[in-house]
């Protein structure tokens, strides 16, 4: 076990086979039995009041921290989880579960369809962020937790945090949506549609029935390349690659001359080895359907005491700050406590995974204040955030 880390962990899973294990989906269809893969770090306290649910992004999984036996790399938010870290495992019980529709242990299109004994493929029903959250609620019930201290996530994880707050306000004391939105914009939908079309354009996709034949490698790789461009910023690409050439000179061929091209190809190819193409289709669709704008977000809820910490990043053009401001405005309108911070960063959308120091300071304070008092502290200071909207305490 490393000094600041939580050492070796294992992904567990639970299957909700009996009623209400069958999930009634937003589409009207049902899904069952539903299996959820999850990990936990730290200990649930006696009054079960210290549980924090982390929700992952598009291609994430339940493995947020620590090391799986034999792995070199830790979980996806390891820098934020452990003793003394943002999500301090000496104080909090951290839960992370893989979403339904995914391919990392939870029920998704690559799972066996009990009706046929074969993978669901496109027989898997279209799901929504709401359906993902309803499945997570089963898990929280299963763990015997009545009220979560917080639900936290970046990007699609932030949508889940907003959905939790909207659907089950009595089940959480706070939410921390990071680099996210109340709804996908047409530009976000457009990028997702390109991703889907790229996968479906590959004949190896076989209308979804590629299991046993291998992934639609080329289409999925191109899809992921598009994703990676949107996760970075103009500036972070300049910082990381500029116009550096792989071999120092132009080849005067159609080969990948620039380092940035080689990087994208590498990221595309590695993604094919770790993520199911159909899961990518279903999860992007769920994100596109997500829409808590207008009256859909807490409009009919009075006396909500959920508190919000909303974080965005200046160079994030995929989930730009104006989308986080829309969340804050909706909360203000409903007189719900919200702190908003737009952090300086050149990392683009990736910032939520990278800007550990600033996020740690904000989140440790926010959770600490929640745990110690019923009054929202005004001690949060948004260093580095833009002045005109650095801090909202309403």
């Amino acid at each position: 076990m490393s000094e600041n880390g939580i050492g070796i962990v294992e992904t567990r899973s639970v299957t909700f086979a009996e009623s209400p294990g069958e999930l009634v989906l937003r589409s009207g269809r049902t899904l069952g039995p539903v299996t959820l893969a999850y990990e936990t770090y730290g200990e649930l306290n006696r009054d079960r009041s210290n549980a924090v649910l982390l929700c992952h992004a598009l291609s994430g999984d339940a493995h947020a921290a620590g090391f799986h036996e034999g792995d070199k790399d830790p979980g996806w938010w390891d820098a934020m989880i452990g003793p003394g870290k943002a999500f301090d495992t000496d104080e909090y019980f951290i839960i992370c579960s893989n979403v339904i529709g995914g391919c990392k242990g939870s029920t998704g299109p690559s799972s066996l369809n009990p009706a046929t004994g074969k993978p669901y493929a496109l027989d898997f029903p279209v799901i929504t962020i709401g359906d993902m959250v309803n499945a997570q609620r089963f898990l929280i019930d299963h763990l015997g937790i009545d009220r979560l201290l917080s639900v936290v996530g970046g990007s699609m994880g932030g949508m889940q945090a907003l959905q939790w707050a909207s659907a089950y306000p009595e089940r959480l004391r706070s939410a921390i949506p990071i680099a996210t939105a109340l709804k996908h914009s047409p530009q976000q939908i457009a990028f997702d549609e390109v991703v889907r079309q790229s996968i479906m354009a590959d004949p190896a996709w076989r209308k979804g029935n590629y299991y046993g034949h291998g992934q639609p490698k080329k289409g999925l790789a191109v899809a992921r390349m598009v994703g990676h461009i949107t996760f970075m910023s103009d500036q972070s690409m300049e910082d990381k690659f500029s116009r550096r050439l792989k071999n120092g000179i132009y080849s005067y061929t159609l080969a990948d001359d620039f380092e940035v091209e080689g990087y994208l190809r590498y990221r595309g190819d590695s993604f094919v080895k770790r993520f199911d193409a159909n899961s990518y289709l279903y999860i992007t669709k769920a994100m596109d359907y997500f829409d808590l704008s207008g009256d859909r977000f807490l409009a009919d809820r009075t006396g909500i005491d959920t508190r919000f910490l909303v974080i965005s990043f200046q160079s994030d053009w995929l989930y730009p700050s104006h989308q986080s401001l829309e969340i804050v405005k909706a909360l203000k309108k409903r007189q719900i406590a919200a702190t908003y911070c737009e952090l300086k960063s050149t990392w683009g959308h990736d910032a939520f995974l990278v800007e550990v120091e600033e996020e740690t300071r904000l989140i440790r304070n926010f959770l600490g204040n929640l745990a110690s008092s019923n009054n929202l502290s005004h001690s949060l200071v948004c260093n580095g955030g833009r002045v005109e909207s650095g801090l909202w305490n309403v």
Copy 2:
């Protein structure tokens, strides 16, 4: 002939078969014979001093204005070309030629390779923006024009304008680079690489030898969808589509529910009918290779009297204004006359085709001042541009 239009036009072409008709390329390879397709509008005056060369963007062609016999739609910049328009055909002789590497009448990968009698396909040599401009110089020589009044273009057309000014400063009195850059950034290269990978991922591409078999439809369509997202802005997509649904309700299938998805699919599919996939590969590569940064741009040229009008658009994130400012800074450093205007627009990169009124005002004044005087007039006013850099007259 319509009131303000130039009526029916035809694309002509000229082939430079004899020496120096063989073009020595930047790569060291040669290309020949070289055919250039071009159109002209208006009349060359007696002292041959009123010629303006328009350079087209990535998927453009020589047909900039007027109507081809039987066509419903005019050329790509028709709103800017004609009597009383920005490029006033009562005053100027306008030339527009299709670039080499293209597929609209100039020599490109779909042309017959004289060595084999079959289409070049990937035997076509990799070309640069410099090579395109060298081919255009043949045409300008052929037309008997010693000095162009101006070379003008948006996007890749602007690169050609910059290249003309850099390679042949004595051959032009002015240049108007619009929504362009001195070099492609890694983000721009990255989008181009996705485009190329998408085409090459399609088995119907057949390593470039698809002629006679049909285009790599799916790969080319996805490539163009990516392009269209980058040509628009977050705001223009919101204005045009918002989250409107094609059929009013979510289908809960993987179909295209949103209008923006249908639009992208439509634009992708129509592109396949009008543009050669290999040309897309070669032309994007030429753009990625383009680099007039540092000493490459006019550094060794003293006493240059070329004048520049540099235009960018606020919502253009593909060729953001900071890239136009780099052009202006390079010109200032070399004490070359430059006027810069960043125009307000929500149209993204498409703005250079759409913001006709503002461009007309700027360009008419700029060309008028050039024609009437040797002194750069300070009468240009950049309405709508941002204050801090609205106008530079140096």
